[in-house]
Point group: C4
Amino acid sequence: MHHKIQRRIFEIIELDHPEDIYSKTFKIFIITLIILNIIALIISTVEDIYQQYQTCLDSFEIISVTIFTIEYILRVWSCNIAFGYKHPIWGRIKFIFKPLVIIDLIAILPFYLPLLLPNLIFTRSFRIFRIFRIFKITRYSNTTKLFAQVIKSKQEEIIIAIFTGIILLVTSASLMYFAENEAQPENFPNIPAAMWWGVVTLTTVGYGDIYPITPLGKFLGAIAALIGIGIFALPTGIIGSGLIEEIQKKQALNQGKESIICPHCGKKID
Amino acid sequence: MHHKIQRRIFEIIELDHPEDIYSKTFKIFIITLIILNIIALIISTVEDIYQQYQTCLDSFEIISVTIFTIEYILRVWSCNIAFGYKHPIWGRIKFIFKPLVIIDLIAILPFYLPLLLPNLIFTRSFRIFRIFRIFKITRYSNTTKLFAQVIKSKQEEIIIAIFTGIILLVTSASLMYFAENEAQPENFPNIPAAMWWGVVTLTTVGYGDIYPITPLGKFLGAIAALIGIGIFALPTGIIGSGLIEEIQKKQALNQGKESIICPHCGKKID
Amino acid sequence: MHHKIQRRIFEIIELDHPEDIYSKTFKIFIITLIILNIIALIISTVEDIYQQYQTCLDSFEIISVTIFTIEYILRVWSCNIAFGYKHPIWGRIKFIFKPLVIIDLIAILPFYLPLLLPNLIFTRSFRIFRIFRIFKITRYSNTTKLFAQVIKSKQEEIIIAIFTGIILLVTSASLMYFAENEAQPENFPNIPAAMWWGVVTLTTVGYGDIYPITPLGKFLGAIAALIGIGIFALPTGIIGSGLIEEIQKKQALNQGKESIICPHCGKKID
Amino acid sequence: MHHKIQRRIFEIIELDHPEDIYSKTFKIFIITLIILNIIALIISTVEDIYQQYQTCLDSFEIISVTIFTIEYILRVWSCNIAFGYKHPIWGRIKFIFKPLVIIDLIAILPFYLPLLLPNLIFTRSFRIFRIFRIFKITRYSNTTKLFAQVIKSKQEEIIIAIFTGIILLVTSASLMYFAENEAQPENFPNIPAAMWWGVVTLTTVGYGDIYPITPLGKFLGAIAALIGIGIFALPTGIIGSGLIEEIQKKQALNQGKESIICPHCGKKID
C-alpha cells in the first residue's frame, strides 16, 4: 500500500505520460505557480505595490514555499522508485545532488535560511534568490537540452571564439589603460576598470560612462571596436546556426528518415 | 442592376485583376492617399509647419477620412458578393471582424470618436492613432503573409529564443537590482526598472541613462551582456535565414521544380 | 596621326590590358593620387596641420585638380573611339552623362565653381565636396558591380526588409512621440524628432541624447527595441549571405564547371 | 653527450609528442605561467592590491622573467636540431626572426630594457608591454592558424567589406564634419574627429560623447547609420560562416573521406 502511493506520486511528479491527467494537472499547476512567483517577486520590489498588498504577497510567498517544500519532499521520498536510486538512503542522497533537484532546493532555501540563522547579516538579500525559482521551469522544457546539444556540436567554434575574445578583451583593455590612465585616472584607474570599458565597447552596448578621450586612446579604441565586435558577435552566429541545424535534425528524425525511392526500380537510394 | 453595381465595386476594391484598369487605379489611389496621410500626420506634429498650413492639413484630414469612410462603407456593403459572406447581416458582421477590416475601421475611428463623445478626456491623444492607417498598406503587400510563413516554419527556434530571452532578462534584471539597489536607489528602485536596464543592455542599445556602478553590478552586467546579447540577437538570425529560405522556396515554385536526371538511364528522378 | 594618338590615349586611360605597361602605370598613378587627395583633405581640416603646411596642401590641390582636369578632358576627347560614342558631338554628350564620368566632373567642380561664381555664398563649403573624389576609385574596383548583383539577386528580401523597417520606424516613432511629448517636450517636440530616436534605437547605436523616461514610453521603447532591432539587422544578413553566394558563383565560373567523373565508365556525372 | 642534451631539450620544448611526459609537463607549466603572469599584471594595476602584495608581485615578475629568459635561451640554443636551422649561427639568426620567437623576445624585453637604458623616459610605460606575453599562448593553440585559413578562404569577401567600409567611413565622416562643424566646433573640429564619430556610430557602440545636433547632421547620421551598420557588420557574418566551414572541413578530414556508394553496382564513387 505504502509502496503503491509512492509509485503513484512518482508517476505524477516525475514522469510525463501524456494520458495521465493527474500528472498533467500537476505539471500545469507547478508551472503556473512558478510564473506567479516570479511576477510576485518582481512587483513586490515596487515599493507602492508592496505596501498596499503586503499581506497578500507575503501570504502567497508562504503558500508557495509550502507547496514547493511538499513537492521537494515528495520528489526525494518517491525517488527510489527510479532505476539507479533504489537504495533507501544512498539513492536519495544521490538524487538530492542531481542539478534539477538542487535547483528545487535553492528555490525554497531563501525562505528557511533566515529562520535557521536569524542573526545572519544577509537576511534581506536572500529574498532575491527567489528569482532562481525561474530555473525550476527548465524541468518542463527541452530548451536546456537543446542548447547543450548545440554547444556540444559547435564546441570547437565556441571555444575558439571565447579564447580569441578573452585575448582581445585583455589586450585592448591593457592598452587602453596604458593610453588613458594619465588623462582620466578616475575612469581608467586600473586594468579591471579598463576591462569594463572593453566589455561595454566590444559588445557595442556603449553606455557612455567610460570612453577614450586622448587621440591614442581613440585610435586604439577604434581599432579594438572594428576588430573586436566581429569576434564578440561570433558566438551568436555560431549558436544561431547550430540551433537551426539541431532543430532540423530533430524534425527530420520525427518525420522518419526521408529516402528517395527510385521510380524506375522501386529501390531506395539512400 | 443594384446587384451589378455591388459586384463591380467588389471587383474594383477587393479583387486584384491585373487587367482591371479601375481596380488598379483605385489601388494606386488608396496607397498614395495612405502615404500622404502618414506624411501629413508626421509634419503636422511640427509646430511651425502646422501653424502655417493648419487649414490645408485639416482639410486634407477631412477629405482623407471621408474617402476612407466611403471605402469602408463600400467594402462592408459589397462584401456579401464573396463566398462565405453571403448572408446580408451575418455575412457583413463576420466581414467586419476580419483583421484587415478592423484596421480599416481603426484608421477612421480617431476622427469620429471625439465627435461622438465630445467630453472625452483623451480627445487630443486620439489623433496619434491615425498612424495606424499605415497598416492599411499591408493589404497590398505580401510581406505580412511572408513573415507569418517564416514565423511558422521557424516556430520552434523562435519560441526557444524568446523563452530563453525572457529567463535571461528576468534573472539578470533581478540580480542587477540586488547588486545596485543600495548604491543607486534612484536608478534601480525595483525590478521593473532593472528590466529597462536589461532590455537597453541586452539589445546593445545602451543609452547610458542607467548602468551599474558597483564592482558586483559591473561584473554581473558584463556576464549578462556577454551571454545575453547572443540570445537576444538569435531571432534576427533565425528570421533572416527563414526569410531567405521562404523566398527561395517561392522562387523555386515559380520556376517549376528542377529535377535530377539519372545519368545511367537518362530518366528524370523526382 | 591625330586619330592614332586619340586611340592610344583611349587605350591607356579607358582599357585595362594587363600587358599595357602605360595603362597600368596610369591606373596606379591615378589611384595613388586619389588616395593622397583624400588624405590631404582629411588632414587639411586639422587647423594646426593646415596652418603649418598651407602652401604645400594648396599646391597639391592645384596640381591634383590640374591632373584630374586633364584626365577628364582626355577621357571626353578620346571617348568617341568607343563603340556607341562614335559621333563627335552627340557621342561625347552621351559619354559625359555616364555615371562614372559625372563623378569625374564632380571631383573637379568644387575647385572651379568658386572661380566661376565668386560671389557665391557656399564657396567655402564646396571644399568638402572634394570628398567625392573617393568615388573615382570605384572605377578600378568591381565592388560596385558586385553589390549591384547582390542587391539584384536578393531584391525581394531587401524590399521586404526596408518596407517592414519603414513601417516599424514610423509607427514606433509616432507612438513614442505620443508617450513622451508631454513629459519631455524638448526631446520629443514632434514625430521627426521621435524618428531620430527611432533610428538611434533600432540601429542599437543608442547615443543617449534622447530616450524615453515615462513608464509607457519605456514599455513602448522596450517593445520597439526587441522587435525592431531584428528587422533593422535583416539587410546585413541578407547582403552578407548574398555576397558570399555571388562570390562563390564567380569563383565557380573561373574554375570552370567542376564535374564528377564516374570512375567506372569514365563518363561525366552532372 | 652535449648534442644529446640539446636534442632532448628540443624535443621537450619544441615538439609536442603526446607520449612525452616531460614535454607535456613543460607545456602545461608554461601555459599556467603565462596565465598567472596576465592575472598578476591585471591585479598589479589595482593600487590597493599592488601596495599590499608588492613584494610578492615583484618577486613573481622576476621569477617569471627568469623562466621565460631561460626558455628563450634554450629555444634559440636548441633550434639548430630542426631541419632548416642547422647552421650554428645563421640557423639561429633565422630562428630568432620567426614570428613566435619574436613574441617570446617581446615577452621578456620590457623587463630588460629599463636596465639597459636606465635614463629612458618611457621606463614605466614599458611595464604594459608585459601584456604581449598573452600572445605566447598562441603557440599552443591552432586558433591563429584557423583564422588565417578563414581569412584566406574568404579573402575576396573581406577585402570588399573593408574597402566599402573605409569609403563609407571617410565619406560619412566628411559630410558630418561639413554638417556639424559650425554648430558644435568643439566636437567636430576636423575630419579625424568626425571619423571617431563614424567608428562609434557605424559599429553601433554609440557612447554619446559625440553625435549630430543639427537637422542636416541628424539626417546624414541616420542615413549613414542605416547603410553603414550593415556594411560594418559584414565581416562578422563572413568570418563566422568561414569559421564554421573551415572547422567542418577539418572534422570531415578527421573522419576520413565520406564516399557515396553507387546504389546500382555497389562500388564507391569518389
